[in-house]
């Protein structure tokens, strides 16, 4: 092998890395929608093409008017189930482990991105649309995890029943699986009672109908 070989390798890596980086940067902001049209082979054709319309950035991905997203977040101490309900420009999210850990978060959903926090700002959720799923990070206290929550169709979604200071919250996932946590007046938490597919739960001996949470609900 010639002594220049490794230098060629280094140069090739640098060129490839910088090249991909530049293509990425060219797609930022008011760049043309198709970065490949900038390649040199089409240079001759470029003058003939009409100038692009006043450089408006491509519209960011937008949320449907109403949508539910459900994802599982593997953690060191088991799996968290995460539900995000988007309604207009508001979103509500609920994460729980079906046992003792739960967190309610709310905030805005604009331009395909959600930014949510709980009441005392100890839990946060930042996510953005990627395809039909929301991906991002969820933090509860000091812990932080990546999540990927695909869109889910009803009856999948978020359900709640609150009475006499006892709040039961459930997530129904796309496969019909239910995960929920019950929080009592003294802030103690426990697994929520069973929720049937038609939203009925038996709480302390009384059959109740859980309420489906919408993005602007006040939970």
């Amino acid at each position: 092998m010639k002594i220049r070989g490794p230098i060629v390798t280094l140069a090739a890596v640098a060129v490839l890395g910088v090249g991909i980086l530049l293509i990425n940067m060219s797609k930022e902001g008011p760049a043309p929608a198709n970065p490949y049209s900038q390649s040199t082979t089409t240079a001759a054709a470029t003058p003939a093409a009409p100038p692009p319309a006043p450089s408006t950035p491509p519209p960011p991905p937008a949320f449907p008017a109403k949508a539910d997203y459900v994802g599982k977040v593997p953690t060191a101490n088991g799996t968290l189930t995460l539900e995000i309900t988007v309604d207009g420009d508001k979103a509500i999210a609920y994460a729980c482990d079906g046992n003792t850990v739960e967190s309610w978060l709310r905030g805005n959903a604009v331009n395909g991105a959600v930014s949510l926090a709980n009441k005392d700002k100890t839990s946060r959720l930042e996510g953005h649309l990627e395809g039909s799923a929301i991906v991002g990070t969820l933090s509860i206290g000091e812990k932080k995890w990546d999540f990927n929550a695909p869109v889910a169709q009803p009856p999948a979604g978020l359900y709640v029943y609150e009475n006499a200071g006892v709040r039961n919250s459930w997530i129904v996932d796309s496969t019909g699986g239910v995960t929920g946590v019950q929080r009592r007046e003294d802030n103690s938490t426990a697994p929520a009672p069973k929720l049937t597919t038609d939203g009925i739960a038996n709480i302390d001996g009384i059959e109740v109908k859980a309420i489906r949470v919408e993005g602007d609900s006040n939970v």
Partner: protein, 190 residues
């Protein structure tokens, strides 16, 4: 490859040591530079990628897996070149195969690394992510060091194997903290 033969030549130890120091210094600069870029650059949550996979993460996981497979061949062919495998003489093509599989491995890793640095950045919110960020920067630093050292003759015989081993170690740990995690949480999906 020439570096194996050159190792026995008697050369002033001083210039060899300086060359190693320069190479390590440049590698360290690259590693720190990548880390700083990843830390200060605003994550874009987006980077161009290959079509045909279910998600950007799947593309990255499979490219990384290809790079690790090539790296395993790197390890094997390096052992053969240093006659550490039983059976005596290595085939004559092994040096060339080592060079080209290495080039392919590192080039395969580049789109993945650009995605990491451009779309996500250097993060430390859990141990996996922190170590992945550290090993990712380390890998390219060690790679730069090794490429520079390969252009030097008269290095001590252990220098290239040690640096090569560090490059291999870096890539394997990058893979363990990313692609393996991806396959474990999402299943082996394309």
């Amino acid at each position: 490859m020439s570096d194996t033969e050159a190792s026995t030549a008697a050369v002033p130890a001083k210039s060899s040591a300086v060359a190693v120091l320069i190479a390590v210094g440049l590698g360290a600069l690259v590693a720190v530079g990548l880390g700083v870029f990843g830390k200060v650059h605003e994550p874009q949550f987006f980077s161009i990628n290959l079509a045909g996979f279910s998600s950007g993460l799947a593309v990255k996981a499979w490219l990384a897996t290809l790079a690790v497979a090539l790296a395993l061949f790197q390890l094997g062919s390096a052992f053969a070149m240093y006659r550490l495998v039983p059976g005596g003489k290595a085939p004559s093509w092994i040096g060339t195969a080592h060079v080209w599989s290495g080039r392919l491995a590192v080039l395969t890793s580049v789109p993945v690394a650009v995605h990491c640095l451009y779309a996500l950045g250097f993060e430390s919110y859990d141990n996996r992510v922190l170590f992945h960020s550290l090993f990712g920067c380390f890998f390219y630093g060690a790679f730069v060091t090794k490429m520079i050292l390969l252009t030097r003759k008269g290095l001590r015989s252990w220098v290239i194997p040690v640096v090569g081993g560090l490059v291999f170690f870096g890539l394997v740990y990058v893979w363990l903290t990313s692609a393996l995690w991806f396959f474990q949480t999402n299943g082996v999906t394309f």
